[in-house]
């Protein structure tokens, strides 16, 4: 590929391509990341995000889906490409260019080999995965503000309080309940189910997203 305008070929083929998937989900009111232990090499036993080599006849998206599914049972995930990391020294063992993916799950599913750790207090991670985690969180925060992506972090039906908690948890600040409801209902992306959820107190109305495809709309103002 690419227009090689008469440039010699250098040592090329030794660059490997991998994907790394950052699974995020809410758990006990906090944002958690799904991590696995590195099994080999200098970084053995440290936490890292699931991932690995891209196969020769496989798209990047497919590789991300494969590596995610290899660790976490599929459950209506939203997966999107995040950023590509390729510093020569990021893996001490060999040159690996890694395409990072963000995966949003509606639940922190327990799965063998996967540990869900709170994003706010991640331990030391293998390679440059700390950086990847930061980029993933920044992306998530940014996209919540101008897309309907919150659906990916919620069950199919939810209350407005649930939805508000997604925002408050991810953004790390409290939002005014009345204004939040007004804004989010005014967007017209939610359909009331008519049903209610019964808990300890007054039952709450249940909603679902009219569409669960990514949409760009100003969900939050810049200030509040």
């Amino acid at each position: 590929m690419t227009a090689c305008a008469g440039t010699p070929r250098h040592a090329d083929a030794t660059v490997a391509v991998a994907v790394d998937v950052v699974p995020l989900a809410l758990y006990e009111g906090r944002l958690h990341a799904g991590l696995v232990r590195v099994e080999r090499g200098d970084e053995r036993s440290r936490f890292a995000f699931p991932g690995g080599r891209v196969r020769e006849n496989e798209s990047l998206d497919a590789a991300a889906a494969r590596w995610l599914a290899g660790h976490l049972p599929d459950s209506g995930v939203h997966v999107e490409q995040l950023y590509t990391f390729g510093e020569p020294g990021r893996d001490p063992a060999s040159r690996v260019v890694s395409v990072a993916y963000l995966a949003l799950l509606s639940r922190a599913i327990a799965a063998p080999g996967v540990e869900w750790l709170p994003c706010a207090t991640l331990p030391r991670l293998a390679y440059d995965h700390r950086t990847i985690a930061r980029v993933a969180l920044d992306r998530l925060r940014a996209k919540l503000a101008y897309t309907n992506l919150a659906w990916a972090l919620l069950d199919r039906t939810f209350t407005l309080a649930d939805l508000q908690q997604v925002y408050e948890t991810v953004l790390g600040r409290a939002l005014d309940r009345r204004n939040f409801r007004k804004r989010v209902l005014a967007l017209g992306l939610l359909s009331p189910l008519g049903a209610t959820r019964h808990g300890a107190h007054r039952p709450a109305q249940l909603f679902r997203f009219t569409t669960r495809r990514p949409i760009t709309v100003g969900v939050l103002s810049e200030r509040e």
Copy 2:
């Protein structure tokens, strides 16, 4: 890299890594892209963006800078990673994963082998570079609205009319001059030079960006 959780290694090493750089600049009131001709292979003589293999000891950013500099003389460019394209069939000859970069130039510099073509009417491009072009334009449009990135498409000093034209050209619609000036001056990112530029009519005040680093601020409202 990555936590290879006991997965066998498939045919790995045959995926090559390249960068492709999308150089954009304003020229005669329109946004233009800098393209080169493919020299070899099935796509020979079609237009494509400058790019090529990443060297083994080179970061992705460095590779992008190298391939850009190989075609266009450096001139205070802004370069940022755009997206990574890796469909198996995107280069019919071999499997290439390409990390695309966006490069913003203050001028459409003439250089041997480079043709500047208006983005609105690009011809058929090699590989999937049409897609890359679209992603680049979407990114530029989006970032103009909430960053000070316009500086990259302007000379160091410019008039408010110049700045407004950047926005109007990239966004493809007219903006109200008075409101534009108010908003952009209220942001406090511009410093007046005191000097003026003399043209055919009343001279215009010259400004520069106080900082030419990327900053996130609401430059435009969502509506206007």
